[in-house]
């Protein structure tokens, strides 16, 4: 066997390995997109269950909520968002891989924004520390200790209460990433145009919702319509992505 034949075989093996890895990544991305949709639906279902809309304003109300129903406390401080963000990382990587040959610079930028949004969201989420503080609060004996824990809880909430200025940056960056990757989709045509439009409008509306709820609380009720339409469009976006990634995973 000559050196050039050996190189050729090596290159073909490498190419086949890359294709196989890509196929697996697309399939994984498709499955994860579906899991994100299911998590989002679960979030909606929980809201309509008895007590599902219960929330808290003050730190003491949060501690009480955690003591009465720790799952609801965690969920109201973004537990399901943690799940969706985690599932979204490999899914976004699959999208990056699907676009890297046609539109690499912008898809890289979108991936970086997405990773940044995830990192900021994880670092500012305070669901688990609040659970811990609420347990400590329930166990302490003196008022001084309770005041101390309440102050610590308030510091947590100022950073990590959903849809407040403290959590704005994490959501903002993730939504920018969603809009950017949808713009890439629109240009590359690897995904259907409707998929791109669903992403641009869906994440755009969620972005408006987050800006208003964080900085113009008076508009919170008015912009709920943006959250509803944006949420539905983003669910459609994930479903379409999942379908397309499964198609891309099929041998051509």
């Amino acid at each position: 066997m000559t050196a050039s034949t050996s190189t050729l075989i090596r290159n073909e093996t490498y190419s086949a390995d890359t294709r196989s890895a890509q196929t697996r990544l697309y399939r994984l991305g498709g499955v994860l997109a579906l899991l994100i949709v299911m998590t989002a639906l679960l979030e909606i279902i929980i809201t309509f269950l008895p007590g599902g809309y219960a929330s808290a304003d003050t730190v003491l109300e949060w501690f009480t909520l955690f003591q009465n129903n720790w799952f609801l406390g965690l969920r109201n401080l973004g537990l399901l968002n943690i799940v969706m963000t985690t599932l979204g990382i490999p899914m976004f990587f699959a999208l990056y891989t699907a676009h890297r040959e046609t539109c690499q610079p912008y898809t890289t930028l979108a991936l970086l924004f997405s990773l940044l949004g995830s990192a900021v969201f994880f670092a500012t989420n305070r669901a688990f520390p609040m659970l811990d503080l609420s347990r400590q609060y329930a166990q302490v004996a003196t008022d001084a200790e309770r005041t101390l824990l309440a102050a610590a809880g308030q510091a947590m909430l100022s950073v990590g209460e959903s849809h407040t200025p403290g959590t704005f940056l994490g959501f903002f960056l993730s939504e920018i990433a969603g809009i950017l990757i949808s713009l890439v989709m629109l240009r590359s045509r690897t995904f259907p145009v409707i998929n791109a439009h669903a992403g641009i409008f869906g994440f755009g509306m969620l972005l408006i919702f987050d800006i208003c709820t964080s900085f113009v609380p008076a508009l919170s009720n008015v912009v709920l319509i943006f959250a509803m339409i944006g949420g539905l469009l983003s669910i459609a976006w994930y479903i379409l992505i999942s379908l397309r990634l499964f198609q891309l995973a099929r041998p051509s």
Partner: protein, 247 residues
């Protein structure tokens, strides 16, 4: 496919150029506000209660002093770093990628620990509190947020230092890359070195803050402004060049 990538690169260079100009304007605003203030802010010297008062008198002053412009600047820098990474893809892709990762790390730490927004929330709650006990625990919560995220205090040193280090590193890459002029690279190296020295002094030697501000930060800031302008101009040139190749 290659044409699509070239066209994508052309747009990215233009976006990077615009981001550099935007970052330059943000820095310029920062310098103007820094010099225009009636009193120099020595970080770490104010209590949470004092910050609440600042926010109530002027929310912008509070946001500015706690680094909102740094957040805007960092978000603008991300497309710029990606454009610089793509510009150096042929000779120094690994070094440039490492710089992007470093900057991403700095940015994610900075954004998640910055005190500007959380302290604003607490100042509003403090203003609405009825009893002294409630006020006291908002102050305690504010102190906790400040300890972690007030600019130029030990709590926020790492992200600011890493961000300066990333800018310094990309300037060294420019020096060897041959895509940007050597003058651009040296202006960046000098400017970001001075700004990093300011970060170290302001964080760990508070008595030297004013001296470091006028000595290091003002000169470093001006050099950084020139660097942004030179980088923007070159990126627009590269964008035009790539577009010409596509056509």
């Amino acid at each position: 496919m290659n044409t699509q990538n070239m066209s994508g690169r052309s747009r990215l260079y233009r976006l990077g150029g615009a981001a550099a100009l935007f970052a330059m304007c943000t820095n310029l605003l920062d310098i103007i506000l820094g010099f225009g203030g009636t009193e120099a802010i020595t970080y770490g010297s104010r209590s949470a209660l004092q910050w609440f008062v600042i926010y109530q008198e002027s929310a912008f002053q509070g946001f500015y002093a706690l680094g909102i412009l740094n957040i805007v600047y960092m978000i603008a820098m991300l497309p710029l770093y990606v454009a610089l990474m793509v510009a150096h893809r042929q000779k120094q892709i690994f070094q440039a990628t490492l710089v992007v990762i470093l900057f991403l790390l700095a940015m994610s730490i900075y954004l998640s620990t910055n005190a500007a927004l959380p302290l604003w929330v607490l100042s509003m709650k403090y203003a609405l509190a009825d009893t002294q006990a409630q006020k006291a625990f908002f102050i305690a919560a504010g102190e906790s947020v400040l300890a972690r995220g007030e600019d130029f205090t030990p709590g926020s040193f790492m992200p600011l230092f890493l961000s300066g280090f990333a800018a310094l590193s990309i300037s060294f890459i420019m020096l060897r890359g041959g895509i940007f002029g050597k003058a651009t690279a040296w202006v960046g190296i000098a400017g970001f070195t001075l700004l990093s020295l300011f970060t170290i002094c302001a964080t760990f030697i508070p008595p030297l803050h004013t001296l470091a501000f006028y000595g290091f930060a003002s000169i470093g800031g001006v050099l950084a402004l020139i660097w942004f302008a030179l980088v923007a101009r070159r990126l627009f040139q590269l964008g035009k060049h790539e577009q010409g190749d596509v056509e």
